[in-house]
Symmetry: C2
Subunit: 384 residues, 2 copies
């Protein structure tokens, strides 16, 4: 296998992009990544997308996108694993370059979610759960994560305030991110007084519905210095699955796919959790960030909430988590999220994150999760 590096990144503003279509936002992000890397051709591309079908009636992005990007006849592949579709695009691009089949590959993600009413978007998102045994019975993702949160509070004494602190911290970071959908700070009181969605989760515990796209360019590590002074090497790739339905699991506070994907990525990279300088984790709900911290080894089991309360996950903390603002503040255009996490880590490792820069960042991790933990992909990136 050849080593693979990221040599360019691009993303759109995340938000309600009502004047742009799905393919327009993907093309915008892709052109930025192409510009940033300075490549003059791409050999192949991957597109992460949850459901163009349910959100805008459009599948076959593997033809639509290269067409509107003007790169036909190059091969293009759309990949989907619910909310982890973005990271999956990068994993597949990694494999294609590692194999020697192609040299310069674009990995992007996109979702256009705000063209439909919220109930239609909720139906689309629920397609990522077990439709027959979960969604048809009336439980969608806020309800599933509420079950996880309630159990975590019961088992480990995690407090309602600690959940709120995750959102407060992520908004504090997101306020410094020009791409964020909600670039403003919030308070614990605002979280605790926001509308109840699924007890104990309130509106400000939940990531929003978002339009957006992000893209990166990868190539063999040995070619990377031709394009940039600061290539970022992909040193770990971990991908794992778990039961799609929450009720299939012995312990709903441990997301086994995160544990397994993390283990695989750490093993491949030959490092430990304590070697990570910053992480972008999948905070679709505040409780999800706490579980991810524990399952990835950044906090002991049950102590994730405490770590947040102690400030360990702040930008200047021991293990900065979601310096981008996370899904909560930056927004969550499902298929784009995994790539946007990678864009943030690359930006941090290049030392270009401005006001939200993590000091001396050399190794970063991304954690992208599908559904209620049915699929997880972890990447570990390092300055070359």
């Amino acid at each position: 296998m050849r080593d693979v590096a990221i040599i360019g990144t691009g993303m759109t503003k995340f938000g309600e992009l009502w004047d742009k279509s799905l393919h327009e936002i993907f093309v915008e992000a892709a052109l930025k990544a192409i510009d940033d890397s300075g490549v003059e051709r791409i050999d192949s591309m991957y597109i992460g997308n949850l459901s163009g079908g349910l959100f805008v009636g459009q599948e076959h992005l593997a033809s639509l996108i290269p067409d509107y990007l003007g790169v036909c006849p190059i091969p293009a592949t759309r990949v989907e694993s619910a909310c982890s579709s973005g990271a999956l695009a990068l994993k597949q691009a990694f494999l294609e370059v590692a194999s020697g089949f192609s040299d310069i590959v674009l990995a992007g993600g996109v979702e256009k979610m705000t063209d439909v009413p919220t109930d239609v978007a909720t139906y689309g998102l629920a397609a990522a759960a077990d439709r027959e045994y979960e969604a048809f019975q009336g439980i969608t993702f806020p309800g599933l994560y509420a079950l996880i949160a309630r159990r975590h509070m019961y088992e480990y004494g995690t407090t309602r305030e600690q959940l709120a602190m995750v959102a407060v911290k992520n908004h504090k970071n997101g306020a410094k991110n020009p791409h964020a959908q909600f670039p403003f700070e919030i308070t614990i009181e605002q979280v605790l007084n926001s509308t109840l969605v699924a007890d104990p989760l309130r509106l400000l515990d939940c990531s929003p519905i978002t339009d957006g796209a992000a893209a990166v360019i990868v190539c063999p590590a040995e070619m990377a210095k031709e394009y940039t002074d600061k290539p970022i090497k992909i040193i770990g790739v971990g991908h794992a699955t778990d039961t799609i339905a929450l009720h299939g699991r012995n312990d709903i506070t441990t997301l086994k796919a995160t544990v397994e994907a993390g283990k695989r990525a750490y093993t491949m990279a030959g490092i430990k959790p304590e070697d990570i300088d910053l992480a972008e984790v999948h905070d679709c709900f505040t409780i999800a960030e706490i579980c991810a911290m524990e399952d990835l080894g950044f906090a002991k089991k049950g102590e994730g909430g405490k770590a947040v309360e102690e400030g360990l996950t702040e930008i200047d903390g021991k293990i900065p988590i979601n310096p981008s603002g996370g899904l909560k503040s930056k927004g969550h255009p499902v298929g784009a999220t995994g790539i946007a996490q990678v864009v943030e880590v690359v930006t941090q490792l290049r030392g270009k994150a401005g006001e939200r820069q993590v000091k001396d960042a050399k190794i970063g991790l991304t954690h992208n999760l599908g559904g209620s933990g049915g699929s997880v992909i972890v990447h570990i990136l390092e300055v070359m």
Copy 2:
């Protein structure tokens, strides 16, 4: 890159499988492929599927399928490129094994299309066209292929009867295939007198709406003999894209993505069209088989219809095409089709095709196409 071989295959009966769900039919095909190959583990899997979202409200097959197959936590990836999703699953499995990242990988495809009324299925299928510029304006796939057929008749003198002969030949082959949805013969008169769908195409020029799944197991060629006496090597992989909308092309009778994907596959395999002993091509409509024959080099431009009329594409002809019965007679569960084509070619190369066996078959080709030719994947397989 490591060489890759297919060591086992499995598929369901194609048809209206109303008593089985999407995941049940995939699992059935996957277990058959696992049994056939004799592997005791799989390291990773790929699932080709056009639109679980629009047909049954279910995305995230990359978690659903490994869960119901009982193979979590292995990584799983759903890929989509409209009707070429199946072949895309095999291509990605090929890359993963070629790269050295995994050894034993399952590539499957599935579609459950008959759980919804025909107009809903048509809406789902139209998601593979350019929704904004084609489907929303009222043209769906029968109309698009009717334009191609009419132009082909005008430019090259292809006759209405020659189109019918494609369907007659494929039903003759499919009548010998126990997996076929419509395993019976038809006559030219029946085609010509069937309901007009989109002039000049009639009902019996069109492939049906189908439920079904198919799967194959791949591994490094050097390991293949541990599992089977007759491994089939993947010697050519070609993948290309074209404009998603038909109106974007200079010449609608030549499908450039087929030409390019064919060229790439022939180059990689180091062979020419005349070296191919049999081919499974994407006959979603009768005209599509004629175009594919020409674009892949099995007939001169404009002479595809004549070649069919002369019997060259019969099982005992110069270049047998669609010995399985093709999409027309075997059925077209979109995401499964590309893998089912591979299952047929492997069966033929193993000499196990019974009554429809092509004599002395050593090298076979599969041609799987998405939309009206916006994406095409060609594989070339050879007895090891």
